[in-house]
C-alpha cells in the first residue's frame, strides 16, 4: 500500500537566472513528521509553495494524496492545513473573528471549531484584542490554530516556531508531536533550527542551496552519527575486507580511500589495529568519536552548518 502523502519528483524552481530549488525528490509518509531542514534561503518555503501550488513549478511534479494540487484544489486543499512564511490575518479583526472568517470560508460545520482551535494553541476565545496588537508568538499560535481549524489530515508548517519564546517553542513542539502521535496527522515542517527538527521529526530532509542533500529517517541518521570508531588507514578497501572477515561486521561506512567509520563500537580497537597491521595496512589513527547531528549537517552542507 502506498502510504506516501507528499511526493515530489525532480521539482525545480527557477527565478530568472537563479535556481531556487533544484530537482528535489521529497517523500512524506502518512502519519509521520517530516522535517525539512536548511539555512535561511535554502529553498524550504519555495518547496512548500510548490507543493501547495502557490507558486508555479518550473519543472517536475508535486503530488499530494496522489494528486497534483493544481487542478484538484477542491479535493486536496480541504485535507491540508498550512502556514507559509508568516501567518497572514486581518489586522483590524480579533483572533476569533479572523478564525471565524476562515471557518466560514471552509464551510466548517463543527460549531465549536474556532473555540477548540484557539484552546489548543492557548489563545483566548472571544478576546477583544485585535490581530495587529498581537505579539509575534501570538500570531504564530493563531496561524497554527487556523491550520488545524478544519481538522486536516496533512499539516504543512513553514517555520511555525518563528518568534516564539523558548517556552512557546516547547509548547508548540509538544503540540505538533501530539498531533502526529495522538491524532495521526502527517506533518511537513520546515526549520533552520537543527535542535527543533531533531526533537520533532521522524524523517528528515536536508536542503542546501536548493538541493536536497539527504532524505532519511531520523533513526537512521542518529545511528549514523552517534558513536563510531574513526579509522584512518592506508587502504580502506582492504581494511573493510578485514573487518568483515575477521570481525564479522558490516556496520561501517567508507568515507574515502583513507577514512572509514566503524559503527560497531563494541569491537576492541586494539585488536582491530593489530589485525590491520598484520595485513600490512598502515593505521594512521584510530579513535572513538561521538559526532553530533550538527557535525553531520556541517559535513553534509559542505561545512556551512545549520543554526
Amino acid at each position: 500500500m502506498n502510504d506516501t502523502v507528499i511526493e515530489t519528483k525532480q521539482i525545480t524552481k527557477v527565478y530568472g537566472e537563479q535556481t531556487a530549488v533544484n530537482r528535489v525528490d521529497l517523500h512524506v509518509r502518512k502519519g509521520r513528521i517530516y522535517g525539512l531542514l536548511g539555512r535561511n534561503g535554502a529553498g524550504k518555503t519555495t518547496i512548500m509553495k510548490m507543493i501547495l501550488s502557490l507558486t508555479s513549478i518550473t519543472s517536475g511534479e508535486a503530488d499530494v494524496f496522489g494528486k497534483n494540487v493544481k487542478g484538484n484544489e477542491k479535493q486536496v486543499y480541504p485535507r491540508i492545513g498550512a502556514i507559509i512564511e508568516t501567518p497572514g490575518f486581518y489586522p483590524n479583526l480579533t483572533g476569533t473573528e479572523n478564525l471565524e472568517i476562515f471557518a466560514k470560508l471552509r464551510g466548517t460545520t463543527k460549531p465549536r471549531a474556532v473555540q477548540e482551535a484557539l484552546e489548543v494553541v492557548g489563545l483566548p476565545y472571544r478576546d477583544k484584542k485585535i490581530f495587529s496588537k498581537y505579539s509575534l508568538g501570538m500570531k504564530q499560535r493563531l496561524g497554527i490554530a487556523n491550520a488545524i481549524l478544519h481538522d486536516p489530515e496533512l499539516l504543512i508548517l513553514d517555520e511555525p516556531t518563528n518568534g516564539l519564546d523558548p517556552i512557546g517553542i516547547a509548547e508548540v513542539r509538544d503540540f505538533i508531536k501530539d498531533l502526529s502521535v495522538e491524532r495521526g496527522k502527517t506533518i511537513l515542517i520546515s526549520s533552520h533550527i537543527l535542535s527543533e527538527i531533531s526533537l520533532l521529526a521522524d524523517d528528515i530532509g536536508i536542503i542546501n542551496n536548493g538541493v536536497l542533500l539527504e532524505e532519511n529517517s531520523m533513526a537512521t541518521l542518529k545511528k549514523k552519527n552517534g558513536k563510531y570508531i574513526l579509522l584512518q588507514v592506508s587502504d580502506t578497501a582492504k581494511a573493510a575486507l578485514i573487518l568483515e572477515r575477521k570481525f564479522h561486521t558490516k556496520d561501517y561506512s567508507v568515507q574515502d580511500t583513507h577514512t572509514l567509520h566503524l559503527f560497531d563500537t563494541s569491537l576492541d580497537m586494539a585488536a582491530i589495529n593489530k589485525a590491520l597491521m598484520l595485513e600490512d595496512i598502515s593505521v594512521i589513527s584510530s579513535q572513538l568519536c561521538n559526532d553530533t547531528l550538527e557535525d553531520y549537517f556541517k559535513r553534509v552542507t559542505g561545512g556551512e552548518g545549520i543554526a
Binding site: 502557490l54 486543499y77 480541504p78 501567518p87 490575518f89 483590524n92 466560514k104 470560508l105 485585535i130 487556523n146
Partner: protein
C-alpha cells in the same frame, strides 16, 4: 459565493478607511445642506428640491465617489497582499475569480450604500432647510432613483481602474494615480466622452432620470449639445466593465502568490 461576499464585508469591521469614507460622505451631505440653507430660494440655483439633491449628487457621484471607490477597491486587493492573507485564502480554496468578484461585490455594496446614505441625509436636509415648494413623494422618488443609479453606475465605470488595482497589487500609487487621470477628462470634456469613457457615459445616463438630473447634466456639460445615445452609453459601460473584469481575473490568475 454568498459566503465569500459575506466574509468580505466582515473584513471591513473596524477599518479606519471605511469610517473615513463615511465621515467624508457626511461632510458632502452637510456641505450641500449648508448651500441649501445659505442660498435664497429666490435664486435660480436653489429654488427647487431638484437643485438641492442634484447638487449633493453631483458632488458625490462625479468626483468624490470615483476617487473613493478607486481607493477602496485598491485597498481591498492591496491589503490581501500586505496582510499576507492571500495565500491562506487560496488554500481554503478560494479561486482568484471568486476573490475578484467578492471584492467587486464589496465595492458594489459600498457604492449604493454611500449613495443611499447621502440620499437620506439630503431628504432630511431638504426638509430641515425648508422652502422647497416641490419637495414631495415624486421628487423624493426621482432623487432616490438618481442616487441608486449613481450607486450602481459609478462602480461599474470604475472597473478599468480596479483592473489597474489588480495589476499594481503591491502598490497603492499606480491605481490611485490612474483614478485621478481617469477622472480628469470627464470633468473637463464630459460631453465629448459620452459613449467612450464609462464615467462620462454614466453622466449621459443620469440625464434621463428626472428633469432635475437633466438640468444637472446640462450644467455639467456647460450646455453642450449631447449627441451620445443613452443605450449606447449603457452598452459602452457594460462592455468595458466586462472586458476589465475578464482582464482582471486573467491578471490575477497569472500572478504568482
Amino acid at each position: 459565493m454568498g459566503t465569500i461576499i459575506q466574509t468580505e464585508l466582515q473584513k471591513l469591521k473596524r477599518r479606519k478607511l471605511v469610517w473615513g469614507i463615511l465621515v467624508l460622505t457626511t461632510l458632502i451631505a452637510l456641505f450641500a445642506f449648508e448651500r441649501a440653507c445659505s442660498i435664497s430660494r429666490k435664486s435660480a440655483i436653489m429654488d427647487s428640491f431638484g437643485d438641492y439633491y442634484t447638487l449633493a449628487f453631483k458632488m458625490l457621484a462625479t468626483i468624490y465617489l470615483p476617487i473613493v471607490l478607486g481607493i477602496f477597491a485598491t485597498s481591498l486587493f492591496f491589503d490581501e497582499y500586505k496582510n499576507d492573507t492571500l495565500k491562506s485564502l487560496l488554500i481554503v480554496p478560494i479561486s482568484k475569480a471568486q476573490l475578484y468578484f467578492s471584492k467587486i461585490a464589496a465595492v458594489l455594496f459600498m457604492s449604493p450604500g454611500l449613495c443611499l446614505y447621502t440620499f437620506i441625509l439630503t431628504v432630511f436636509g431638504g426638509v430641515i432647510a425648508g422652502g422647497f415648494p416641490d419637495i414631495n413623494g415624486q421628487t423624493v422618488l426621482q432623487a432616490f432613483a438618481l442616487f441608486v443609479e449613481g450607486g450602481i453606475l459609478v462602480p461599474l465605470a470604475m472597473l478599468p481602474v480596479i483592473f489597474l488595482a489588480v495589476l499594481g497589487r503591491k502598490d497603492y500609487i499606480l491605481p490611485i494615480a490612474a483614478t485621478l487621470l481617469y477622472l480628469v477628462p470627464v470633468i473637463l470634456i464630459p460631453s465629448y466622452l459620452m459613449g467612450i469613457h464609462p464615467l462620462a457615459s454614466a453622466i449621459n445616463i443620469y440625464r434621463v432620470t428626472s428633469p432635475a438630473a437633466a438640468q444637472m447634466v446640462k450644467n455639467l456639460t456647460q450646455g453642450a449639445n449631447i449627441t451620445a445615445n443613452v443605450t449606447n452609453s449603457l452598452i459602452n459601460m457594460i462592455l468595458i466593465g466586462c472586458i476589465s473584469a475578464a482582464l482582471s481575473v486573467i491578471a490575477l490568475q497569472r500572478q504568482n502568490n
